[in-house]
C-alpha cells in the first residue's frame, strides 16, 4: 500500500471542509492548516514513486521448520508440550507439526492449544487463504483452528470451527475474509482442541502457508448469524453483535464458513441518534427510537441485521424483596414464576392491544402498546390464592396522563370446576384514575385481594389490564401474589 493509493477525492474533501471553517476561525491559521494539509496529504499524492515499505510478505508459516520470525506460545491451561516438530511423520519434506491432544484428566493440561505469531508482522494482502495438509491418528473434530490470534487485540482473528479431520492426509483451506486488511498481521496460526470423548489423540499439520489460490470466491458475509432480528432496549445499553461470519465457495465446490473478527466488517447504523456501532461491532444506545444495524465486508452487504427499538430512558422496576416463601409469582425476575399460558391473549375481535413479554437490556418486562384491554392467563394449572392477601404489580405508563385516563386491574377466577365458564367463575376489578397515576415512572401497586370482591380465589387464572384505550403504552413487571 503506497501513498499513491490514497484516493484523490479525499484531499478535495479536506480542502472543502477547511474552506467552510474560514468564516469562524482565524484566516491565517486556517490557511496554514490548509497548506500543510496539501503538503502532507495531497502533494505527495502526485508522486508515483512514494511507497511505504511493506512488512514481510513471506507466505510460509511452517514448511519443514519454523519460518523466519515464527514463535510458539501455548495457551494458559493447555498441555504445554502438546506441540512438537515431527521428523518421522510428514506430508512432504523433512518434518511436520505434531499436536498431541491430552486425555481427559491429563495433569499436564486439559487441552492442546497455542498461537504461532510472527511479532515482526507480515503483509498478507497478496494471499486469499491459509492452507495446510493435515491428518490425525483417528477421525476427530478440531474445535478451533485459524489465524489472527496474537495475544494482543486479535483484531483480525479468523476461526474455522469444528474442522473434521481423518487419518488420511487432506488439504485444508481457511479463507481470509478480506485480505486487504492484513497489512501487518502477527497471528499466523492458532488452534485449540480438547480430547475426543475424553480420549487424547494426535494430529499432524504440514505445508502450512498462506496462498493466493484465485478460487476463493462468492463471498457471503453475515452478521447476527444471518438473521434479521429486532431487539427492545434502552439508553445506555451496549450490545455486541454476535454471529459474524464470512462464507466462500472454494475450488472444490464446497462452501466454507469461518468466524471473522468484527474489524473485517464496516458497520452502519441507520440512525446514529438512536444507536452507534464501533469497529468492534459494539452497539451503544444513545437515544429513543429505532435504528437498524447492518454491515458490509469488502464491499459485500452482510446477511442479517439487528434492529434496535430503544424505549429511551429506562429504569428497571424496583427489585422485590419479599420472602419467596410468602409469594406466588406470575411474572418477575426475582422469583420462580408459575406456569403462564400467555401475557397477551389477543382476544378477537375487540382487543387492540399489541405486545407482551420482552427483554429490555437483559430485564424481562411486559410491554403493551395500543392497549384497550389485555389478559395474562395461567390456567394450567389454576392457582390457589386462599393463603394470599395481596396482589403486587409495578406499572409504568410511557406517555402523558390526561384527565379521564385510567387503568383497571381485574382478576379472574375459574371457580370450583377449574375451567372457564360453567357459571362458577368470578371476577373483579380495582381502578386507578388519572390522579393516582404518573407517567414515565414505576408505580408500585399493592392491592388487598379483598378489594377485588371475588366469590372464590382458589382457582385464579387471569389478570387483566384495562384502559379502554385511554392509556396506550404500558410497562408491567413483578406481578405476584403475597401474604
Amino acid at each position: 500500500m503506497g501513498i499513491k493509493n490514497v484516493p484523490a477525492h479525499q484531499c478535495w474533501e479536506i480542502k472543502a471542509s477547511k474552506m467552510k471553517n474560514i468564516k469562524v476561525i482565524s484566516i491565517r491559521i486556517v490557511v496554514l492548516v490548509f497548506i500543510s494539509l496539501i503538503l502532507s496529504n495531497c502533494e505527495r499524492n502526485l508522486s508515483g514513486d512514494v511507497e511505504f515499505a511493506r512488512f514481510s510478505t513471506n507466505p510460509e508459516v511452517f514448511i519443514d521448520g519454523f519460518s523466519s520470525g515464527l514463535q510458539y506460545f501455548p495457551f494458559q491451561g493447555s498441555k504445554l508440550d502438546a506441540f512438537k516438530v515431527d521428523t518421522e511423520v510428514r506430508y512432504s519434506g523433512s518434518s511436520s507439526m505434531r499436536f498431541d491432544v491430552p486425555n481427559f484428566g491429563d495433569p499436564g493440561g486439559a487441552f492442546a492449544g497455542a498461537i504461532f505469531p510472527d511479532n515482526g508482522g507480515r503483509d498478507l494482502t497478496d494471499y486469499d487463504a491459509l492452507t495446510f495438509w493435515a491428518k490425525a491418528s483417528q477421525s476427530a473434530t478440531i474445535n478451533e483452528i485459524g489465524f489472527g490470534s496474537d495475544f494482543g487485540e486479535n483484531k483480525f482473528i479468523v476461526t474455522l470451527n469444528n474442522m473434521r479431520i481423518s487419518t488420511a492426509w487432506t488439504k485444508y483451506t481457511i479463507p481470509i475474509p478480506d485480505p486487504s486488511r492484513l497489512v501487518v498481521e502477527k497471528g499466523l496460526f492458532w488452534y485449540a482442541e480438547g480430547p475426543e470423548n475424553e480420549n487424547g489423540y494426535s494430529f499432524w499439520i504440514d505445508e502450512l502457508k498462506f496462498e493466493k489460490l484465485g478460487t476463493v470466491a462468492q463471498p457471503r458475509p453475515a452478521i447476527n448469524f444471518g438473521q434479521d432480528e429486532t431487539m427492545d432496549t434502552f439508553i445506555g445499553t451496549t450490545i455486541t453483535i454476535p454471529g459474524l461470519t464470512q462464507t466462500f465457495n472454494l475450488a472444490s465446490g464446497q462452501n466454507v464458513t469461518v468466524s471473522a473478527a468484527p474489524s473485517y466488517f464496516t458497520f452502519k447504523s441507520s440512525n446514529v441518534d438512536v444507536a452507534r456501532v464501533n469497529e468492534n461491532g459494539t452497539i451503544t444506545i444513545v437515544g429513543s427510537g429505532t435504528a437498524k444495524i447492518t454491515a458490509i465486508l469488502a464491499g459485500v452487504r452482510a446477511k442479517g441485521s439487528l434492529t434496535i427499538n430503544s424505549v429511551g430512558t429506562f429504569v428497571p422496576a424496583p427489585i422485590p424483596t419479599r420472602n419467596p416463601a410468602n409469594v406466588i409469582s406470575v411474572f418477575s425476575d426475582a422469583y420462580t414464576n408459575i406456569p403462564v399460558d400467555f401475557y397477551n391473549g389477543f382476544f378477537a375481535p375487540f382487543q387492540t392491544t399489541l405486545g407482551g413479554a420482552v427483554n429490555i437490556g437483559g430485564e424481562n418486562v411486559i410491554r403493551y402498546t395500543q392497549l384497550n384491554f389485555v389478559a395474562t392467563e395461567f390456567k394450567n394449572p389454576t392457582v390457589n390464592l386462599s393463603q394470599m392477601t395481596h396482589f403486587h404489580v409495578d406499572i409504568q405508563i410511557q406517555e402523558p396522563i390526561n384527565p379521564g385516563d385510567f387503568i383497571s386491574i381485574e382478576l379472574g377466577d375459574f371457580g370450583p370446576n377449574n375451567v372457564f365458564g360453567g357459571g362458577d367463575d368470578s371476577s373483579g376489578r380495582v381502578t386507578f384514575t388519572n390522579t393516582a397515576l404518573s407517567s414515565n415512572t414505576w408505580i408500585s401497586l399493592d392491592i388487598p385481594l379483598a378489594q377485588f370482591g371475588l366469590a372464590s380465589r382458589n382457582n385464579m387464572a387471569q389478570i387483566f389490564f384495562i384502559s379502554d384505550a385511554t392509556i396506550s403504552t404500558l410497562l408491567v413487571d413483578n406481578m405476584y401474589f403475597y401474604k
Binding site: 493466493k212 489460490l213 484465485g214 478460487t215 470466491a217 462468492q218 475450488a251 465446490g253
Partner: protein, 277 residues
C-alpha cells in the same frame, strides 16, 4: 492443466502448434512461451451483442418452454419459461436466471433459448462470452443440435456441446460431441480446468471451430481439444446444419440436485454470441 491438455494434443499431433525454438529447447511440459492458433475463421456471419434491453431479439432466439419429456431427457428439475424473471437483456448482457420457486408443478424455473428455424449453419466458428453461475446442481450449457432433429431423432441428429459446466466444479468446463453410437455416457468429451481461477467470477470465451474434418474446442485463448471423424465410434454426423442453444438447467443426471447450500437465484450472463465462417 492447460499444459497437460496441450501436451496431449501435441502427442496426438493433430493441431498446428507453433512453438518457439526456446520452448522446444526447454521442453514441452515446462513451456509457457508458446504460440498456438486458436481460431482461423474470422468472417462474421451472425452476432448478438445483447445491446438492447428487454426480451432477446426474436429474429434470432426462440424458447423451449416447460419440462420436456423426463426433464428434457435428463431428469432436469426446472420449468423453462420465457418470462423476464427467467430471461432478459439488461446492460449489454443476456441474463438467464434460475429461480427456486414452485411453478407449474416444478420446484425451479429457468430459461432455454435456441436459434432453431432462425439461425442454422453447417461449419464455422461459434463462440460466446459467458459468466457462469455457481453451486451444486447448476448446469449451464452453450451447445448445438442437428437442425434435422425433428425428423432424425437424437442422437442421430448430432449434438455439439461447446460448453457444459457443473456448478459444484467451478473451475472446469467440458466440450463434447454426441452422435449415433456415441451419445450420453459414451459421448466423446474432454474437460478443461482453469488454473487459479474459476468460471463464475468473470467472463470467459467458449467456442468451437468446426470444419468438415474436425471440431476444435477452445476456452479463451486455449485450444484444448480436437475431435475428428476418426475419434468417434460411429457415423460422423457433423456435416449438416446445426442450431444453437443456451440454457441454464437445474438438477438432472449430469449434475445432481441442488442442495441446501445452493444459493438462488443464480444467473448466467452472456456478453455476446458470435458466429464466423
Amino acid at each position: 492443466m492447460n499444459q497437460r491438455n496441450q501436451f496431449n494434443l501435441r502427442i496426438m499431433n493433430r493441431l498446428w502448434l507453433r512453438f518457439s525454438s526456446v520452448c522446444m529447447l526447454v521442453g514441452l511440459l515446462s513451456c509457457s512461451d508458446y504460440e498456438q492458433t486458436v481460431t482461423t475463421m474470422n468472417q462474421l456471419v451472425m452476432q448478438d451483442e445483447f445491446d438492447t434491453n428487454g426480451a432477446p431479439n426474436s429474429a434470432i432466439w426462440g424458447y423451449d418452454i416447460g419440462t420436456g419429456t423426463n426433464g428434457w431427457g435428463n431428469n432436469e428439475l426446472q420449468f423453462y419459461t420465457d418470462r423476464k424473471e427467467n430471461v432478459t437483456v439488461q446492460n449489454g448482457y443476456l441474463i438467464i436466471t434460475a429461480r427456486k420457486e414452485s411453478y407449474q408443478g416444478s420446484p425451479y424455473t429457468s430459461a432455454r433459448l435456441l436459434t432453431k428455424g432462425k439461425f442454422e449453419q453447417a461449419y464455422g466458428r461459434f463462440e460466446a462470452r459467458i459468466r457462469l453461475p455457481w453451486g451444486q446442481g447448476m448446469w449451464p450449457a452453450f451447445w448445438m443440435l442437428g437442425a434435422d432433429i425433428d425428423t432424425n431423432p437424437w442422437p442421430a441428429a448430432g449434438e455439439i456441446d461447446i460448453m457444459e459446466f457443473r456448478g459444484q466444479e467451478p473451475s472446469t468446463v467440458l466440450g463434447t460431441v454426441h452422435g449415433p453410437g456415441y451419445s450420453a455416457g459414451e459421448s466423446i468429451s474432454k474437460s478443461y480446468t482453469l488454473k487459479n481461477d474459476r468460471f463464475d467470477t468473470g467472463f470467459h470465451v467458449f467456442g468451437i471451430e468446426w470444419t468438415p474434418k474436425y471440431v476444435n474446442f477452445y476456452v479463451d485463448n486455449v485450444l484444448y481439444n480436437q475431435i475428428t471423424p476418426a475419434d468417434v465410434p460411429g457415423e460422423w454426423v457433423f456435416n449438416k446444419s446445426f442450431f444453437i442453444l443456451i440454457n441454464l438447467a437445474v438438477g438432472g443426471s449430469f449434475v445432481g440436485s441442488p442442495n441446501n447450500e445452493t444459493v438462488f437465484p443464480q444467473t448466467m450472463l452472456v456478453d455476446y454470441v458470435r458466429v464466423y465462417k
